[in-house]
């Protein structure tokens, strides 16, 4: 049986980011896949040697454009944990609200790309039109659409007034209703069901064996959500992780659809429960240099992200490591791609929600 090697990526019409995968085929079936990381490896973890810890937040934010807010939040949370800084409560709530809005924005982006991957351009354009509303909210509250620069060590830089928060919630709820059309299409359209149903099935045992994280694992029935651990004020909200059991591409789409609705609900709960008023403190800037090390976890839209920061008392950190969820999902992706048809490869790779900027840092 003759084997062919086809390079998938780095440029491919379906990929949002350059992923380099060498597919080894026999006829039309994929037999093996070899990943390479390094097309956009920028060595950001090495920059701690040159960039002071106060300014490293800007670098960490720019690891990726889609997951930008949570990277900044995770880095600041890690440094605050080392230096034992107590962040004012309103700042923590604001971070949670922005994080959930960031999750909505990321899932909307991915849903549009998933639709584009199998050619449904109308749906892609509609979902991205809804995403523009979310980006406008970000520009009004943080000053930037993609890179927000609103986290600083000890708190946040800007406040959102209570009236603005109510207005934002109203806009998100209108968006949620508009988004209902997209949900109906994804769930009921026969061509989508044909393209995605039964494709790339990851059973629960397989998901556990390859240590998958995020919606990838939740769509296979594994109950896993870093927000359940209660850090960063998530223990003050009521929610259940969104679980599907089918484990195929359609299940992963449905998980992300329902997570958008869940995020709107979480934002409503957060606005309800946060301390209200003007002029509350937003910032508790620490003095001196950090010393110590910490592991911090957050739930990014793609799964669990783990930050390791080691500081030695100087203004330069010794080590910064961001183990992003796509990095953890690459073994799952390779497992799924083996044994499938070549035509299904783009769909499968897209359903792990690859964020290669995060993976390669």
């Amino acid at each position: 049986m003759k084997r062919t090697v086809i390079p998938f990526g780095p440029q491919h019409p379906v990929l949002p980011e350059p992923l380099v995968l060498d597919l080894i085929l026999e006829d039309e079936r994929v037999v093996d896949a070899v990943p390479t990381i390094g097309y956009i490896h920028r060595g950001l973890e090495m920059m701690v040697e040159k960039v002071e810890y106060t300014e490293m937040g800007f670098v960490v934010e720019r690891i990726c454009g889609i997951c930008s807010f949570m990277h900044g939040m995770g880095y600041c949370a890690a440094i605050e944990s080392i230096m034992d800084v107590e962040v004012p409560e309103r700042a923590r709530w604001l971070r949670l609200i922005w994080a959930e809005i960031s999750r909505i924005q990321s899932h909307l982006l991915w849903l549009g790309l998933a639709a584009d991957a199998f050619g449904f351009e109308n749906l892609f354009m509609q979902v991205w039109r809804m995403r523009e509303e979310v980006l406008d909210i970000f520009e009004q509250t943080t000053g930037g659409r993609i890179i927000h620069s609103v986290n600083r060590i000890g708190g946040v830089k800007r406040d959102i007034s209570d009236s603005e928060l109510a207005a934002i919630l109203a806009r998100l709820e209108t968006l949620g209703r508009d988004f209902g059309t997209a949900t109906r299409v994804f769930a009921k359209d026969p061509s989508i069901a044909h393209r995605l149903g039964g494709v790339g099935v990851l059973t629960e045992e397989e998901a556990r064996a390859v240590d998958a994280v995020g919606p990838m694992a939740r769509a296979s029935g594994v109950v896993m959500d870093t927000r359940l651990s209660g850090a960063h004020l998530y223990d003050r909200l009521d929610f259940e992780p969104v679980i599907e059991t089918a484990g195929d591409c359609l299940a992963r789409v449905l998980v992300r659809l329902r997570e958008v609705e869940q995020s709107i609900d979480l934002i409503r709960q957060a606005i309800d429960r946060m301390p209200k008023g003007e002029g509350l403190p937003l910032d508790n800037r620490p003095r001196g240099n950090p010393q110590g090390e910490v592991f911090t976890r957050l739930e990014q839209p793609r799964g669990e992200v783990l930050y390791y920061v080691k500081a030695n008392g100087t203004k330069f950190l010794e080590r910064f490591r961001a183990r992003t969820p796509t990095f953890a999902n690459i073994p799952a992706m390779i497992k799924l791609v083996k044994g499938c048809d070549l035509a299904d490869v783009p769909n499968i790779i897209l359903t792990i929600d690859p964020c290669i900027s995060c993976t390669e840092r």
């Binding site: 070899v34 990381i37 090495m46 064996a209 976890r297 669990e304 990095f327 690459i330 073994p331």
Partner: protein, 135 residues
């Protein structure tokens, strides 16, 4: 490091259903009076599930195995127990130069494409720090 003790701890985590979250390395430069530096390794295991009354005690936590290895010391691979380990261990080999033996899927140095080979090795870190000090 004690290979058998380490591997039996890893096996215990696997059997109890924990998930491998990360394998991390930090380059520790040699201090004054020491000959060579070392690497601090950490294996992070996470327990998923909802922490709550009567449920899994450790749910939602992250536990670590930490080891310090000298330059040139061999580190056993855990890819036999955890399906995701091969990616982290290939990264350790290519970015840090740590000799991890027995990885199930060996990507033979092709995983990362970096301008400097083994960018986090002691020699590369020392060269970068000297270059920064000079400029």
């Amino acid at each position: 490091m004690d290979r058998t003790a380490f591997l039996s701890r890893v096996e215990a985590y696997r059997n109890a259903g924990w998930r491998l979250a990360l394998i991390n390395a930090t380059t520790v430069m040699a201090a004054e009076g020491e000959e060579e530096g070392a690497f601090e390794l950490a294996w992070g295991f996470a327990r998923d599930g909802r922490p709550g009354e009567g449920a899994d005690e450790a749910a939602g936590t992250l536990e670590l195995i930490r080891e310090t290895v000298k330059l040139g010391e061999e580190v056993p691979s855990v890819s036999g127990f955890f399906g995701a380990a091969f990616l982290y261990e290939n990264e350790l080999r290519e970015l840090f130069g740590i000799d991890v033996t027995g990885i199930e899927v060996d990507l033979k140095g092709q995983l990362y494409k970096t301008a400097t080979r083994i960018p986090f090795s002691h020699r590369a870190v020392r060269e970068r720090l000297e270059r920064e000090a000079r400029s």
